[in-house]
Symmetry: C2
Subunit: 136 residues, 2 copies
């Protein structure tokens, strides 16, 4: 049986109802050019909240705090099952600075998310989130 691992994404929505997306760079082996919420795998021994804060700093240069649960989903990878926790978060400090995993950032209006090429697997969840209109 494939093991189950945990990953986290930060759902940041600003006062204009726009959500922070990063575009996957050519440093990735898959889904280059697709937009996604920042986040990544929880390291062994790390709790999910710490992982989220760490990933946001690494991928976006931002300090954030979690404000709630946006939702959860699962998908299959070649060697593992991934359970993805999407957490609402707000920026507390910092300016956006990208790592080499991403080559662009944007604030995408939730109401227009269907116009964005989102990374597979998580895209349907993101569209559903946008449709629900939840804004934190």
């Amino acid at each position: 049986m494939k093991p189950y691992v945990l990953a986290v994404k930060a759902v940041i929505v600003n006062e204009q109802g726009k959500t922070l997306l990063l575009r996957r760079s050519s440093a990735n082996t898959s889904f280059v050019g697709c937009w996604e919420w920042p986040g990544g795998k929880v390291d062994p021994g790390e709790d999910f909240a710490t992982a989220l804060v760490r990933e946001m700093k690494e991928e976006a240069g931002l300090d954030v705090e979690i404000t709630g649960l946006a939702g959860a989903m699962e998908f299959e990878m070649p060697k593992v099952h991934v359970v993805l926790l999407c957490m609402n978060a707000r920026i507390t400090a910092g300016q956006i600075v990208l790592s080499d995993e991403h080559d662009a950032w944007a604030w995408a209006p939730l109401a227009e998310l269907k116009d964005w090429q989102l990374a597979p697997r998580v895209d349907e969840f993101m569209y559903a989130y946008a449709t629900r209109g939840t804004v934190t």
Copy 2:
């Protein structure tokens, strides 16, 4: 800000569409007599899948393996926010043996879950799950 912590519950549904519930004993300080899915907090440094398997052994004497994500929810405790991952699981070995946290077990038909006094906070999620009729 209150920290966010992770907890896990095992959603086990048998071939008759019945789900395994445990009744909270008087060893608990709250919700005594209410029924719930087995599970508990993820320990510091522990991954959620290991925690689920451990809790099932401790609380129910059962060996289980995870088969998927049933859903996630959050609730507030006095000192922490809890994100609760409910994982579908199946029993691979063992006979039910309860810890002192519970004083009864039952296989409750999902279709009749509304007739059971479930533990608060998670009850609405459990009723919704039963209504969706998901059986793994």
